[in-house]
């Protein structure tokens, strides 16, 4: 969303040369402790407030989730699931939004140089003025997060409040969370805090409590403390082992240089053939033979 902050880049979409890399930065993370989240949607409201977004007033379709999905305005959304887990009824409430993967699929898929960047602190940000609106980020994302605006055809998603973080503030959602279910700090500190929370949950009988920091995408800079980390999919479809799709890997990985090489090779083969064999030119006897054929036929 934002223009470049005072944050250094680690990666830049569709850019083959590395960004300046001398300065060090501490990796940050947002920890969402689902066991402390009451689903009040203050984070959702704060996100709209801080980012000057306004969501349409929709309708109720029979659930608490409103709007019903992430949109170009709603970058974070509370998702509610009613479920019996091990004989105990639970109302699972998960704050959905960009996970800020360490290996971001959106960035990998993006064809527009600098439309998606990853700062050194780990935040993945969309630089909207560079966005061409192709929607490749949607295809690259293992969590189904980016949304393309109908108004300006740009892609939007949570920025982890990179503008706030750049000036030493926590993201707006973390700031307003009344129960401190959302915390923000260095990734190391967040993992340490998560460990304490997990210990508390285990004491309360949630044996499979754990941290959701999926290695398939290199870990994320938004992590969850889940009571049932062995079954993340019960939390409104949080993927169990998210990875960048092999199709995206194929398309954005080896295919690209191979394809260019193939095209170049085709041209070269032609050229070398020409150099070695020369043109295939029509000879005088060909013309004569043709003329003769016509004459014969005319007779």
């Amino acid at each position: 969303m934002s223009s470049l902050q005072s944050l250094d880049l680690r990666r830049r979409s569709a850019t083959t040369t590395p960004p300046p890399g001398q300065r060090e930065a501490v990796e940050v993370a947002k920890l969402i402790d689902v066991s402390r989240c009451i689903g009040c949607k203050a984070c959702q409201a704060a996100c709209l407030e801080w980012n000057d977004l306004r969501e349409e007033v929709g309708i109720n379709v029979g659930v608490y989730d409103n709007p019903h999905d992430l949109t170009e305005n709603t970058w974070t959304l509370m998702r509610f699931t009613e479920i019996d887990v091990d004989g105990r009824f639970e109302w699972l409430i998960r704050k959905d939004g960009c996970m800020h993967c360490d290996d971001p699929g959106c960035l990998k898929a993006c064809p527009a140089p600098g439309a998606i960047v990853q700062y050194k602190n780990g935040i993945v940000d969309f630089i909207s003025e560079n966005c061409i609106g192709c929607g490749y980020c949607v295809k690259g994302c293992p969590f189904n997060i980016p949304r393309i605006s109908k108004k300006d055809s740009k892609a939007y998603k949570c920025t982890l409040c990179s503008d706030r973080v750049a000036v030493g503030q926590a993201p707006a959602c973390a700031k307003v969370c009344p129960t401190q279910a959302i915390s923000f700090g260095t990734k190391k500190d967040m993992i340490a805090w998560a460990d304490k929370r997990i210990a508390d949950l285990k004491e309360r009988g949630y044996k499979s409590a754990g941290l959701y920091d999926p290695p398939g995408v290199g870990g994320t800079h938004v992590m969850y403390v889940l009571k049932h980390v062995d079954r993340p999919e019960i939390y409104a479809g949080l993927p169990k082992d998210p990875k960048i799709s092999p199709l995206v890997d194929l398309w954005k990985g080896i295919t690209k240089p191979l394809a260019l090489a193939g095209v170049g090779l085709a041209a070269l083969v032609g050229f070398f053939h020409y150099v070695t064999h020369g043109p295939n030119e029509v000879q005088e006897e060909d013309e004569e033979a043709a003329a003769k054929t016509r004459r014969n036929s005319a007779e």
Binding site: T16, I132, V138, K139, P279, V282, A291, R294, S297, A298
Partner: protein, 210 residues
């Protein structure tokens, strides 16, 4: 010598226009497509007014190109039906590459290589069309799942690259086989050209004028 040269009509003006419209559209598609395919070619979007416009026009050019290709297909498909001779021609293609066509069966309007180009183009075009529609989010975004779109982009990219290689072959062949290009520019070829490369076709043409 000029008096010895006979001239045969090969393409009508309609067919030539159709071909060149298609060629221009294909080049535009290739340029805009490659621009979005590889970062080092992103600069090509400048030809189309920048990234967003390149993204917007590419599929529309694609739609036009499909229409024009359909015209070509209708015009030429029956000349590209595969025959026994084509297989024999294919088996002996190395002689053709070595500029020696005497060792392959006489070719009709199109030789087996050209037919192969035709069918490859047709198949790849269909693949490009379907995969292109599946990933055309601004128009048909809701009709496909993300997984389908992912498959579509891979198919689209692979088909496009293959098509480009086919097109390069097509262009090179036209350059290499001298006298070919005038067929698509002026609509006619010399009898010698026909004798040398499409003798069977020459005989048919001569037969017609009897």
């Amino acid at each position: 010598m000029a008096d010895k040269t006979t001239i045969f009509d090969r393409y009508t003006s309609g067919a030539r226009l159709n071909h060149w419209i298609n060629a221009i559209l294909m080049i535009c598609l290739a340029l805009s497509g490659m621009a979005l395919f590889h970062p080092s070619l992103f600069f090509l979007t400048g030809l189309f007014g920048g990234g967003p416009t390149a993204r917007i026009v590419h599929p529309w050019i694609g739609v036009l190109a499909m229409c024009s290709f359909l015209g070509l297909f209708i015009r030429f498909w029956r000349y590209n039906l595969w025959g026994k001779d084509d297989s024999a021609w294919m088996r002996n293609i190395k002689h053709v590459v070595n500029n020696d066509e005497s060792k392959v069966p006489e070719a009709g309007k199109y030789n087996a290589g050209q037919k192969l180009v035709f069918w490859l183009m047709s198949i790849l075009t269909v693949l490009l069309l379907t995969s292109g529609l599946a990933m055309w989010d601004s128009q048909f975004g809701e009709y496909t799942s993300i997984e389908q779109k992912r498959l579509a982009v891979v198919v689209h990219a692979a088909s496009a690259v293959l098509l480009i290689i086919v097109v390069i072959t097509h262009i090179y062949a036209a350059i290499w086989i001298r006298g070919t290009i005038r067929g698509m520019t002026r609509g006619s070829v010399t009898g010698g050209w026909a004798w040398r490369h499409h003798r069977k076709w020459l005989r048919e043409e001569v037969g017609k004028t009897k």
